[in-house]
């Protein structure tokens, strides 16, 4: 890495610089809390809880990031989360659909709502802000209607396990092995591409070296999770969603189109991209992910309540923005959004461990949100 810095005269690519700053900020926050809580924050048990507490916001943030990158916004996710969760709970308890159908119904409802809101935005040219603001109100109303303002308890142990059970440690290691193989395979392919496009000889050693931090990260993560109880199921789902997000944004035409549309919609349209269709798709995708998140949310609390998910949209947007996404569109990464979600959850978790009063928690979180974006803007100027 030192060589790379020398090569580019001490200039890292901005995106990488941003990622390193954020990791450093997270590390600082973690170390501070570890010290302040009397060495409790960085125990495997708390880290396991922390990852659990990140997963719902994280999953929504992945979808939200893609929407934001495309230059759109979705304010309705909190209400949609409540609605999809309530549908699943009612499908299970009142309509007796059976578990798989109940789970699926939440995801389908989420996608359909996303599809509808996307259609209004893309094809009727109503600004996404307005459509989803309407959605925020309407879907909350729908939640109250179908739950009859009652909290619907969930007794099914399998449903509940989505929110709180763990993957057995040896399966965790198998997953780790698969992940490491995948990382190596990607590194190998990268090296080969260099040769294919005649950019020089395949630099296998260099690419493998670059893969080391990722591999180390995987091993440490699994080790920490296993030394408590294993990977929590919600965290596993969150990781899968995040990987899917990384794949979509980096390696599919759909993903690259989102950046083009968000960066300059007219240029994108004139170069033959179907802006409308892609916007429709991205809203549907966010809707589906919100459906997935709603299952975890409902399973974790053990019931579907009429006010489930209120203000979740702001958590998700904050995570994206802290992670370096621009609300103007065209800029932002999945990695950043996930890190943003983790930072927010770390603040919540740490302050809760320290028993900080609720009003101080709000003030601190608000200040950090503004400060994070402020720092980002400073970095952009220089």
């Amino acid at each position: 890495m030192t060589e790379q810095i020398k090569d580019s005269k001490f200039k890292l690519p901005t995106s990488a610089l941003r990622a390193y700053t954020m990791i450093a900020a997270l590390a600082l926050i973690w170390l501070y809390f570890h010290w302040a809580t009397g060495s409790i924050f960085l125990t495997s048990r708390n880290l396991s809880n922390l990852m659990l507490q990140t997963s719902v916001t994280g999953i929504i943030a992945v979808g939200m990031l893609m929407v934001i990158v495309a230059g759109q916004i979705d304010l309705s996710v909190g209400s949609v989360l409540g609605f999809a969760g309530a549908v699943a709970a009612i499908a299970l308890t009142r309509w007796e659909f059976g578990l798989p159908a109940a789970l699926l119904s939440a995801v389908i409802i989420g996608s359909l709502i996303g599809l509808a809101q996307g259609a209004f935005t893309a094809y009727l040219n109503i600004p996404a802000f307005i459509v989803t603001l309407g959605g925020l109100l309407a879907w909350r109303g729908a939640v109250k209607a179908i739950t009859k303002s009652e909290t619907i308890p969930i007794a099914d142990p399998v449903f509940k396990s989505i929110g709180g059970s763990y993957v057995a440690p040896n399966i965790g290691w198998i997953l780790a092995g698969m992940a490491i193989l995948a990382v190596l395979a990607i590194a190998f392919r990268r090296a080969q591409t260099q040769k294919t496009y005649e950019l020089g000889d395949a630099n296998y050693a260099g690419q493998m070296l670059k893969a080391i931090p990722a591999i180390a990260g995987i091993i440490i993560f699994i080790y920490v999770m296993n030394s408590y109880a294993g990977i929590p199921i919600p965290v596993l789902i969150f990781l899968a969603v995040a990987l899917l997000g990384v794949f979509i944004t980096n390696f599919t035409t759909f993903g690259r189109y989102l950046y083009a549309i968000g960066g300059n919609p007219d240029a994108a349209r004139l170069s033959g991209i179907n802006n409308k269709l892609n916007i429709l798709k991205v809203f549907a995708l966010l809707g589906a992910l919100t459906g997935v998140a709603s299952l975890i949310f409902t399973a974790r609390v053990g019931s579907a309540s009429p006010d489930a998910g209120t203000l979740k949209e702001l958590d998700a947007i904050a995570a994206c923005v802290i992670g370096g996404a621009s609300l103007m569109g065209g800029r932002g990464t999945i990695f950043g959004a996930c890190l943003g979600a983790l930072i927010m959850a770390s603040l919540d978790n740490g302050m809760s461990l320290l028993n900080v009063k609720d009003f101080m928690q709000d003030i601190i979180k608000g200040s950090i949100l503004v400060a994070a974006v402020g720092l980002d803007m400073l970095g952009k100027k220089s």
């Binding site: 708390n46 659990l52 909290t151 929110g163 006010d307 919540d348 809760s352 609720d358």
Partner: protein
């Protein structure tokens, strides 16, 4: 193509409009029209008209309040107009304005914000409409009646119950929203009850927190973190309502502590009653809603007829330092032992619902 779209949109809008207008005609819009045309005298049969401005219907109990209130109005043959403010104080101010334009004879308010509601009281009094503060206390000395359950007693009873069952050990205190007057009153009462035990170090409060908007998932996170911080060495989780108790139970369940740790609650929600039957939650506080709603309707009718409220007693509003007339109803502590003789006997909850997750051979005999 565009024109087609426009038609489609037009169709959608008119469809939605039709849907929305249908049910509203029974209470809202139609009567507004009447009142606007005929002024305040617009009471066709000379029926007493009661306006009931509610803060929310999101929690189960408020749904029951509304149903009981409307049912008793019907029984007493008076008209009632109910509005719901979706937890927004500004919407409630508009609702009250609208109720007053509809020419109501008496106004019942379940306030979203205790202090902001005082201005609504002023408006009503300016039009000579008497005001009842329902369940939650309005910070105004102009109200004609405060009707509620013995709120200060709720906090005390919860804490006393916990202390009696767990005289020694570590306590987690989960309080309600710090913007809710009742939550603050409950906290103070609980602190007062536990003070001696805390001072003598019999019990230790290891975490205490007001939870924003009484959210179950925030309570879940708080208890999760408090358990981590104390290595699961917790004997009682004193929670101020059932929704948050559900969150606390999820946190305990994950650590295999359900049934071993005392969990309190309030409201006697259906899911909490199930948890009590299963032994996951220890107790809840049952505030019989039907007597409350009925008493409110009857008091409202008396006020409308300018009759004296004989059963009202002075109640000290600490925030104002003044006494106001109040009717405070009894509350009931519900635990596993008296489920049958309280909530089920009153018809507040169904036997089948409460024991839904308990195997048939372990249920008490149906009465």
């Amino acid at each position: 193509m565009k024109i087609k779209m426009l038609f489609l949109l037009l169709f959608c809008v008119s469809f939605i409009a039709a849907c929305v207008q249908g049910p509203q005609q029974q209470n809202g819009n139609a009567s507004v029209g009447n009142a606007a045309q005929n002024g305040k005298a617009a009471n066709p049969g000379g029926k007493t008209r009661i306006g009931f401005s509610m803060a929310t219907l999101k929690e189960e109990r408020w749904q029951r309040d509304k149903e009981a209130f409307e049912a008793h109005c019907k029984k007493m043959d008076v008209e009632c107009v109910v509005t719901v403010a979706d937890n927004k104080a500004d919407k409630q101010a508009n609702d009250v304005d609208n109720l007053l334009t509809q020419g109501i004879d008496v106004l019942v308010i379940a306030p979203q914000d205790a202090t902001q509601a005082a201005s609504m009281v002023e408006k009503a009094k300016a039009q000579n409409v008497p005001v009842i503060s329902y369940d939650r206390l309005i910070n105004s000395d102009k109200i004609d009646l405060y009707i509620s359950h013995q709120v200060p007693v709720i906090g005390r009873k919860i804490a006393e119950y916990a202390l009696q069952r767990v005289p020694k050990g570590n306590y987690i205190m989960v309080y309600g929203s710090s913007t809710d007057n009742n939550a603050v009153i409950m906290r103070k009462e609980q602190e007062a009850v536990l003070k001696n035990a805390v001072d003598s170090q019999a019990i230790k409060i290891v975490a205490n927190q007001h939870i924003t908007d009484w959210k179950p998932e925030e309570a879940l996170k708080m208890v999760e973190n408090a358990l981590t911080q104390n290595g699961d060495n917790v004997q009682a989780v004193v929670v101020s309502n059932d929704g948050m108790a559900g969150g606390a139970i999820s946190a305990l369940e994950k650590r295999g502590l359900t049934g071993k740790v005392l969990v309190t609650g309030q409201d006697a929600q259906k899911d909490a009653l199930q948890s009590i039957a299963e032994g996951k939650q220890t107790m809840t506080v049952y505030k019989p809603i039907i007597p409350l709603a009925s008493a409110a309707v009857e008091a409202a009718i008396k006020l409308a007829k300018k009759e004296a409220l004989t059963d009202a007693k002075p109640f000290r509003n600490d925030a104002l330092g003044k006494d106001i007339p109040a009717i405070l109803l009894e509350i009931v502590v519900v635990d596993k032992d008296n489920l049958m003789t309280t909530v089920i006997k009153d018809g507040f909850a169904k036997y089948e619902d409460v024991y839904a997750n308990v195997p048939a051979d372990k249920r008490p005999a149906k009465q």
